[in-house]
Symmetry: C2
């Protein structure tokens, strides 16, 4: 704990010094950091190989090993990511809504960094540079706690980035890595609310739950997505099938992929056999209610548990409903507040769905896969918030800022 | 816990039904609720008398008894508060920044209720109606947990409000009161993150700390204010003294009152004797460093603890500094992120103070006492946030809303 406190104090000090940097200076640092990562690629790859070896020894799955692996090309991509962040507009410093009060006070909200950001993530070393870039661009110091599986890779990347900061005469404590990856240290980190302004977990549902339950630092929940596509009775059925195929199969391991399909009973006879065939061609297992199974014989019975499941796999649950209201009620009961789509040609049902479905992103006639900072035009993404406070949906640079009121007076006192 | 879960489920159901109410309907309910509170004044006063009697029996301080007491006039004020909320613009439903993406998707952010708001507060029955009014106007269901000292008053007020909801054909579970005021129930309430979207504690530092440490529901921290006035070397000293007197003594028990004064050493000989006299006339005890005590003989020695203290009393700490930088560093070390003022005629130092002081509200040449939703022109206030996520500074109706992305497509899929 004492060691963590010292880290916290160092991050706070760095944060204060970051407030003085111009956007020009921050961009210079980001370009330098990108150059240095590519220059240091050989060392970084050697350290990554240690993690890979451990991973293989410990029986890590092929999918996880792929996420952990770095290559020259991936390091080039990571460096490119930092250059892209440099190219984005700096949101810090903007003053919003400045107005004069009747007593002459001029009051406005100035956009400022959050301060110190904590990020807890799993075995994806690319997050290390990415999180630094986004936090640094917005003037935040960042404390990273990566997974033990990627500790060598993360340390090598952080060493390179901190050296770039030093070379640019910036306090290198703008980026700190917790190298002790024990569970106790992680728990203690979550209690560091005196020094850390926000904690963002990036990883699976278990990690996120643990952070929500244990953190005294304000948390931004990201990621879990039990996303639905509802096909209304008035839908263009070929559009519906295309959207479902895209939302389910374009990439299955991501939070904005479709996990559950609702079909209005009036179109089930036309649509379900087509869906059964097309999803089957893509090796998607369908878990359906009785009505679905009567039209898709390959479907297996869905259990109550299936409706709340985020599979992240070639599996989908499927159900028929008798109205848009039933669809909305089902979604609001089982969803995780991520992304939901209605396919419809009814103006009334489209508006109702947009109004009543409780989620970060609600679509009419489009794939849920668009829920993404880049697709939304933010040029970057720190995660997708599924909570309601502060930021909801894809989070770009703005989500890493807060505001403070600045007030210009001329001697006003309150009577 | 089971009972609390049932409350949570009822609040969620009510929340869903509130989404369908028009602003007109919500305003009608608020007026009805105001009328009914005045109509039921006699019963409410009788119940309040029970709380007062218990308070007197239990040796409650005069200050707390005064906060607990209701009168015909106070009930009239509470009803007036509801009518004022009815008169405010409804922020729900506004769509912000709707733009067309290159692929034709039309993406915008719609302002929506947070959902279910939890409020934990102490013995101030006026908060009961006030919190209901603000939450209801923004389409939120609210679960209240008031102090045991005010349980009879709160129950009577809630009964009246719920009856008004029923009479207007609105689900009365839009307002729920936890009547079991035990510590265990309070703790369990803080874990109700499945049903409650945000928890707002309103009360003393102890209550707020307990909520931050125990809640799994996202919290908005409110209230603690160790506010500073810094008098720069170029200050108009008579303006400085007026601002200090106002910030310290206009009302001492509030979070935006000044608790600590910093004076540039170049003006200390002129200013401190005046301050000593004027604060002394108002019975303010001064706790000073050596340099202060050499000019104000009545001042007692300040300890390290004093610099971080929120007195909420006729006490102030006072210190001299040798530069604006020292003042800023001192403030950023000891403040609670509430409200800070510089009195200066230096453009450079004013800008530096606004840029570098880390607080919700940073003033030049004005009293800290203006940090208030009404003074800022919001027409209402749910509290003053001293944290950085979601809302910072005085919170009006907007702070009780979130956004969701709404996306209009025409069959877009991701490639």
């Amino acid at each position: 704990m004492e060691q963590l406190e010292r880290l916290g104090i160092r991050a706070r000090e760095a944060e204060t010094s970051l407030r003085l940097l111009t956007t020009e200076k921050k961009n210079q640092v980001l370009h330098q950091a990108a150059d240095d990562l590519q220059k240091n690629a050989r060392q970084i790859l050697a350290e990554n190989e240690k993690d890979m070896e451990n991973g293989r020894k410990n029986g890590m799955s092929a999918g996880l090993l792929d996420r952990l692996a770095l290559t020259e090309e991936r390091i080039r991509q990571i460096a490119l990511g930092l250059r892209q962040i440099a190219a984005l507009d700096d949101p810090v410093g903007e003053v919003i809504g400045m107005k004069k009060r009747p007593n002459g006070l001029l009051i406005g909200q100035k956009r400022v960094p959050l301060g110190v950001v904590g990020i807890i993530y799993e075995a994806r070393p690319n997050v290390t540079a990415d999180a630094f870039g986004l936090c640094f661009k917005t003037g935040n110091a960042v404390i990273l706690k990566g997974g033990s599986d990627a500790i060598h890779s993360n340390t090598a990347i952080v060493d390179s980035l901190r050296q770039s900061l030093k070379d640019c005469q910036v306090n290198p404590d703008a980026l700190l890595l917790i190298t002790d990856t024990s569970r106790e240290t992680t728990r203690a980190f979550m209690k560091l609310n005196r020094y850390v302004d926000v904690l963002i977990p990036r990883g699976g549902a278990g990690l996120i739950r643990s952070v929500v339950e244990n953190s005294t630092i304000p948390v931004i929940e990201t990621g879990t997505g039990n996303c639905h596509v509802y096909v209304d009775e008035t839908a263009d059925l070929s559009m519906a099938a295309d959207i479902i195929l895209n939302a389910k199969t374009q990439r299955v391991g991501v939070c904005n992929a479709c996990e559950s399909i609702l079909v209005h009973e009036k179109v089930k006879e036309q649509l379900l056999p087509v869906l059964g065939k097309r999803l089957g061609d893509k090796q998607v297992e369908i878990r359906g209610d009785e009505s679905v199974r009567s039209l898709i014989p390959e479907a297996v019975p869905a259990t109550e548990e299936d409706w709340g499941q985020e599979y992240l796999d070639y599996i989908v649950s499927m159900k028929t409903v008798s109205s848009v209201d039933e669809a909305i009620a089902h979604i609001n009961r089982y969803n995780t507040g991520h992304s939901e789509t209605i396919v419809t040609d009814s103006y009334e049902n489209a508006q109702k769905f947009l109004d009543l479905v409780d989620a970060a992103c609600v679509y009419v006639n489009a794939s849920t896969r668009f829920t993404d900072g880049f697709e939304f035009g933010f040029g970057a993404e720190i995660g997708i918030s599924t909570q309601k406070l502060h930021a909801r949906g894809p989070m770009g640079l703005l989500a890493l800022t807060t505001t403070k009121y600045i007030i210009y007076g001329s001697g006003q006192i309150r009577s």
